[in-house]
Symmetry: C2
Subunit: 209 residues, 2 copies
């Protein structure tokens, strides 16, 4: 079982390796990569060796190969369909974000309960009435649900999503969703992140006095 600490670092490796690849870099040693990313070379080698090791002694790592392997680990070689529940500003912003498509995340539907929003289009897809959610899940192959709802509704909707067969939820609501243990929840608590920044800023401001 690989620790979430390691998994959490994979996307960053992936980003740097993608940049290196685009720059035409063919090979890189853990030492060079460590200087670029400001982490220890030891950590890099340990991380990769969790998955069997992608390098070669005396040579280092082939950038393109390593990039591809990490992409596969992250499941980016497969298509993942997703729906967005909550077509407010954030929901629409995520629906419009084109880069997800490039990574294999396909925008399939978006739902809201507000009649003023239902019927509007987000990247060519009409906002559906939330009452159609269960039917939509039954008829379509959806892997990931994104929740961009106020916290009051989020728990109920999560429940419906799980009943509809969803196993992975990307949650932007400020609640911890009580879902069965076999359902994945990845939280993005924006205000938590802002508060963390605020804490550190307050510390600095205190020191300056």
């Amino acid at each position: 079982m690989i620790s979430q600490a390691v998994i959490g670092r994979l996307p960053r490796y992936y980003r740097y390796l993608g940049d290196l690849k685009d720059d035409g870099v063919e090979r890189i040693s853990s030492q060079e990569l460590s200087e670029l990313m400001h982490v220890t070379a030891s950590q890099i080698r340990q991380d990769f060796n969790n998955f069997g090791g992608f390098g070669q002694q005396g040579y280092g790592y082939n950038v393109e190969y390593l990039y591809g392997e990490i992409g596969k680990l992250l499941g980016l070689d497969k298509k993942h369909n997703f729906v967005i529940v909550g077509a407010g500003n954030l929901g629409r912003a995520l629906g419009n974000y084109l880069n997800f498509e490039r990574r294999g995340f396909i925008f399939k539907g978006i739902f809201d309960k507000d009649p003023a929003i239902i019927g509007r289009e987000v990247r060519g897809i009409k906002v559906r009435d939330i009452s159609e959610l269960d039917e939509f899940l039954a008829e379509n192959d959806v892997d990931i649900a994104v929740i961009t709802l106020p916290k009051t509704n989020a728990v109920d909707i999560a429940d419906r999503l799980v009943k509809g067969g969803i196993r992975a939820i990307w949650n932007f609501a400020h609640v911890d969703l009580p879902v069965p243990s076999d359902v994945l929840v990845e939280n993005v608590h924006l205000s938590d992140s802002l508060m963390k920044l605020s804490y550190n800023l307050s510390q600095i401001q205190k020191e300056e006095k």
Copy 2:
């Protein structure tokens, strides 16, 4: 020096205590809170004791008091003015998010370089031309800058922000910003978060085969 692991948990404590307060709960023990939050009571007591301890033996913690103290730690008792650089979907969504105001984060300005967007209003504030950024920073008291730009422009803008006196950046661009060590950067890498979910989902799907 308090570890970022502890600081990262403070907003979640704050959220639960706020809910308890709203529910009229007066006191709570680390044991009760631990059951609610699914963490160990030991960790709760250790965390709070980093800041001197907010409880009383034999009694537990006073919810309202503890809520207030954590709020102060998070700097929520002070006002923080912020600007958003990048008025795309995400930038506008954050500008429209009213809850930040409630926590003392005041939306002061929003900038873009796209003439089609400049002049539009986000929550009553006109989108300014990015060329006005330096002047705006000089004339206004801005604590936090939010970067919601494509990665290409993010590094340059971060530079300008730092030159303009900004010490805290909430970064949504998919790059690591190279800023001086006395400047805080809190990253929200949305696609990293989605890839983490994708990794874990792929694992489950593999097991099921």
